[in-house]
Symmetry: C2
DNA sequence: CCTTTTATAGTCTTGCTGACTATAAAAGGG
DNA sequence: CCCTTTTATAGTCAGCAAGACTATAAAAGG
């Protein structure tokens, strides 16, 4: 990083783009905004915005997350830097380098009283047509990353409310991975991992469900999973 | 990414920083440059430079990699985006957002006929004092990432010459992880993973070594490891 | 020739996993 | 009120992979 004088620094704009996931009604949803102006007017896009001079990309991402979701407190939400997209032509207007983030919400309110002009809405994952810019790619990368992190981290609890049943946690895995899991084995595995979940002292939920009431659990202190909880049907080598 | 007019885009400089690793004499080395000017004059720093207007961060990183290593062909080398560092104060002169990359070289020549003013040199990992800027953090992140990817990818062969013995491959793992591995088990595991390595048709190296000549292998077609090759002594949960 | 060194083959036990069966405790419908 | 359905939870069993370990082969060095 010597030689600052040799190259004049070009006018780069730095933005953040957010892939915000949540589970609504047993289906994976993504937060999207509808573009009102060219380019890509009328197309869906990931929420995002410019990084301000006094903030880091992480700070900007969390600020945008609060603005777009309308949530007052986003400090506890999982927010993770994905990677940076910097292809020269990715925005036709100007040179924009975008730092992409993935965020996970337990369950999301529909309202979005964002100060931003664009209204953000929850859209079932995979149903929104081609997104604006390179956001299809960013969204796919985000989904891949989240799915992969489910295997070796406790990230799945970020989709759950503070107290949840093992059936709900399993549904989270099944929804994100798009596979079905064996219930007894899932249960055994989760409970065998220390710090993944911990039982809520004295409670069992009954009212809602149709079957036997399930015990309630909270997210534990662990953050990594050892050994990992691998996806099924991953035979051979995905070259 | 609406609202381009609302915020004037601030003068961000976008750079790439490279954590380039190689193995020299059984020890992990990093490519570093010594800074000649303030700030951090006389300190070691990661090689890097500005992203040009017509190139992506990946292109800039590969260009810098060629310049700093002096290698004529860097197209086959492993180069991977790590993450982006954007803290407002990370460069005291101006607002610099840096996209960090990690690169792996089989074995590196000492010469660095870089057109760059700064001479890059191979330094044993961990021996260079505090680096300039936030490069200590970047380097540590890069090392963590490489070590983690060794568990579930075939990345380790990127440190090896085109043909290598299983003993050499094991040494790569041991050097990067800083642990010792059981030789028969390592061998069994590697050979049991289809596509990880493939035997060179008719050859066994004899001249150099002291013991029984080892069979030669090439990197296979696989890129992922199923199941993963986990580091030993990772008991409990690294909370 | 014998020791050292490295490569390679094989054994054995332990533990996790996937597949499966069984029981418990609720709701719903006749 | 019984019986079916649904969901939760417990338990079983075979197979496989990993860690620890032993054994043999083939070179170099004295």
């Amino acid at each position: 990083m010597d030689g600052y004088d040799k190259y004049a620094h070009e006018p780069f704009a730095v933005t953040v783009d957010l892939a915000v996931f949540t589970l609504r009604g047993g289906a994976l949803h993504v937060l999207l905004v509808e573009r009102g102006q060219e380019p890509y007017a009328g197309r869906w896009a990931l929420p995002g915005g410019f990084v301000q001079p006094d903030e880091s990309a992480e700070t900007a991402a969390r600020r945008e997350l609060a603005e777009e979701t309308g949530l007052s407190d986003v400090s506890g939400l999982h927010l993770e830097q994905l990677r940076t997209y910097s292809e020269p032509g990715r925005d036709p207007r100007m040179r924009v380098v975008s730092v992409a983030f993935a965020a996970l919400l337990p369950d999301a309110p529909e309202a979005h009283g964002g100060s931003d002009a664009a209204q953000a809405r929850w859209v079932p994952y995979g149903t929104a047509g081609p997104l604006a810019f390179d956001h299809d790619r960013i969204l796919a990368d985000a989904h891949d990353r989240v799915g992969a992190k489910f295997e070796y981290t406790c990230l799945a609890t970020a989709f759950c409310p503070p107290e949840f049943t093992l059936g709900e946690l399993q549904k989270v895995y099944e929804t994100v991975w798009g596979t079905e899991l064996d219930r007894p084995n899932f249960r055994r595995k989760v409970l065998a991992t220390p710090g993944f979940v911990e039982a809520v002292p004295g409670a069992a939920r009954l009212t809602g469900g149709r079957g036997k009431p399930a015990a309630l659990y909270r997210a534990g202190a662990a953050t990594a999973l050892h050994p990992p909880l691998l996806r099924p049907t991953r035979e051979g080598r995905p070259a």
